[in-house]
């Protein structure tokens, strides 16, 4: 049985965590035991979360696929539905359908060096990747994490970055357009970090998400450094309402981001990436 359809199933909030003044995480479990036992996902995929009487929003799943009984969704309080979700408490019920879309190719990338590039607040889809790799560290080579934010105070999970930095064969680089005190990273656009990243472009696969202009600029730099375009994977965002490729809102050129994406190989996203209006 799959619940990746039009119809939602009940889920219960089992934990709530305020990550920053505007970002929070909801840990939920599907309440129907049969549905819960059959639910599986891949990092990079998303669920449609339904707030009673208000509506649905697409939220990527940041928890580990080995624990599908506890689904973590990190949400920014920015709109009508997400604000409603921010008011929920443990024990409250929501609707959930999913998982939808393509995930990151984590199994096929075992043995490779990995570079993670995220910009702005759109880090949730790749945080699932970082967590996944760190729990299976021996299966992957070098790990380079590049994170850019607008303002240094936008960085959530700062202590996690500090911990990751201490790991073997792992490099963490942070950049903020506007730095504050105390800020351990660089000040400037994320692209300044590439000069400091130590990686072999021939052996490294990059996974990126964030503003499309940032993705575009970062991909150009990586390709310039010798990375193959098809070794760059990106996650995209668009308005999604049905999540099954029918309602038309997420169309990006000829692609339905909810179904063909949200994770794409960089060349498959094509020339419309970062093109205004698409």
């Amino acid at each position: 049985m799959t619940i990746a359809s039009h119809f939602p199933y009940e889920a219960e909030v089992i934990e709530r965590c305020q990550e920053s003044p505007t970002i929070f995480s909801l840990v939920v479990r599907l309440t129907d035991p049969v549905v819960a036992s059959e639910y599986r996902f891949t990092p990079g995929q998303f669920n449609m979360l339904y707030l009673f009487g208000v509506g649905e929003i697409p939220i990527s799943i940041v928890s580990d696929p080995a624990r599908p009984g506890q689904l973590i969704h990190t949400i920014r309080d920015v709109g009508r539905v997400s604000h409603g979700f921010s008011q929920l408490e443990v024990g409250d019920r929501i609707g959930l359908r999913g998982p939808f879309g393509s995930g990151w190719p984590l199994v096929q990338l075992e043995g490779q060096d990995i570079m993670i590039v995220t910009g702005g607040l759109g880090c949730a889809p790749v945080v699932s990747v970082i967590n996944y790799i760190l729990r299976r560290r021996e299966r992957y080579g070098r790990l380079v994490i590049l994170q850019g934010v607008k303002h240094s105070s936008d960085l959530i999970w700062r202590e996690r970055y500090a911990e990751w930095e201490k790991l073997d064969n792992t490099q963490v680089l942070l950049a903020a357009d506007v730095g504050g005190k105390p800020w351990p990273g660089f000040v400037g656009p994320i692209t300044v970090l590439f000069e400091h990243a130590r990686f072999n472009p021939q052996q490294t696969v990059a996974m990126m998400c964030g503003p499309e202009r940032m993705i575009h600029a970062a991909a150009d730099l990586l390709i310039e450094r010798g990375m193959q375009p098809w070794d760059i994977w990106i996650s995209m965002e668009r308005n999604m309402q049905c999540a099954v490729g029918q309602c038309g809102h997420c169309q990006f050129g000829s692609s339905f981001v909810c179904r063909n994406g949200p994770v794409y190989r960089y060349p498959d996203a094509g020339e419309l990436l970062a093109k205004r209006g698409f």
């Binding site: 997400s82 019920r93 308005n239 309402q241 050129g253 000829s254 093109k275």
Partner: protein, 372 residues
């Protein structure tokens, strides 16, 4: 039923047309067809042949649609109304599911199994059959088919009528979708002055024909029908500059024509509402007044609205230039990748129903004439 070559059809005298409606009604169908209401041709329930638009012509031009009456007796002597099949299958608004809150705050989701009535549509045009084929691919031939659309589609009986009176806005000959219906129907008719040539296109169509007092078709009748559809193709003045404009349009995303059309376009969404292939819909939740239950709806949406491209506080297409460009590059471009052909079937509705008379063939033509 007489013995005759099935492919060449039979003749149904005009005075017996009511028997076709009676046969379909007898088979359990609600007959839906063209009828004049509020100065428009609309598809609605037919109580009898008298509801059909005998002697009605329709003058269509950019931004204009006028029903005219003459002394003729033909029932299908017009091009089309603002809508035909799309609302019957892809409902303008429908409940997808509902939810009730239980005593302990639990959420009880439910959905009704669709159980639509059988509907027979009389007077379907070739352009609308082509559009139906595309909507079928979008809503049915996918990994998660739409339950409501699929159920309604299975209950549909289609009586096509080859078009002999295209409007000035029509260009189905240029898209290859008309004026003659070539597939996708249960029955197809050619209307002559004294009756109809009728051909079955499905087993079900054959079964209905078996109930009718049919006559053989004379060579003169056959010739008259062929000439009428040929003339209906020849009379069309409008055309798209090609069947596949994907590469042309995507190579011209910064063409000045987009800005020019945006100064005229009101971004009202009329074109997407009348388009028989446009499939966008929004989902919305409607809580009951007691706040203990809610219905989750979908309703038609348009890429010309601001909300269509909204993501977390940001609008991907904030202005009309970007919205018109999205519509046209998708309709005439992206569809080729998605469904193997253009999303335009040449019905011309978007031209007639545009309040400022923007003409899709003229806009595509302008870019084809001066590509970057």
């Amino acid at each position: 039923m007489q013995d005759a070559d099935v492919a060449s059809g039979f003749f149904l005298p005009g005075q017996d047309f009511a028997l076709l409606l009676a046969a379909l009604t007898g088979q359990g169908y609600r007959c839906v067809g063209p009828t004049v209401r509020d100065g428009m041709l609309v598809y609605d329930t037919l109580e009898g042949v008298g509801n059909l638009p005998a002697g009605v012509h329709i003058q269509q031009s950019p931004g204009s649609y006028r029903v005219e009456f003459n002394q003729g007796r033909r029932l299908f002597d017009w091009a089309n109304g603002p809508q035909a099949l799309k609302p019957l299958l892809f409902a303008p608004r429908e409940v997808l599911w509902q939810v009730r809150r239980g005593a302990d705050g639990e959420l009880l989701f439910s959905q009704q199994d669709p159980d639509p009535e059988p509907v027979a549509v009389i007077g379907v045009r070739a352009c609308d059959l082509a559009a139906l084929r595309l909507q079928d691919r979008h809503f049915i031939e996918t990994d998660i088919p739409d339950a409501g659309y699929t159920a309604r589609r299975r209950q549909l009986f289609l009586v096509a009528v080859n078009c002999t009176r295209p409007a000035a806005t029509c260009f189905c000959a240029s898209t290859g979708d008309g004026p003659a219906a070539t597939r996708g129907y249960d029955l197809v008719l050619d209307e002559l002055d004294d009756g109809f040539i009728v051909i079955a296109g499905s087993k079900h169509g054959d079964e209905v024909l078996a109930l009718l007092p049919l006559q053989p078709v004379s060579p003169e009748q056959r010739r008259a029908a062929a000439e009428a559809t040929a003339a209906a193709a020849a009379i069309q003045n409008r055309q798209l500059p090609g069947r596949d404009l994907r590469d042309l349009l995507f190579a011209n995303l910064d063409h000045p024509r987009w800005e020019a059309v945006a100064t005229r376009c009101l971004s009202c969404g009329n074109c997407t509402s009348v388009c028989p292939t446009c499939f966008c819909y929004r989902e919305l939740d409607e809580p009951a007044l007691d706040r203990e239950s809610a219905r989750h709806y979908r309703e038609w949406d348009s890429c010309f609205t601001q909300g269509h491209s909204y993501i977390h506080g940001f609008i991907v297409r904030p202005d009309t230039r970007l919205r018109y460009r999205q519509w046209l590059t998708h309709k005439l471009g992206g569809w080729h990748d998605q469904y193997g052909r253009s999303g335009c079937v040449g019905c011309g509705r978007c031209i007639a129903w545009c309040p400022v008379g923007i003409d899709i063939t003229e806009e595509a033509g302008a870019i084809a004439d001066s590509p970057a």
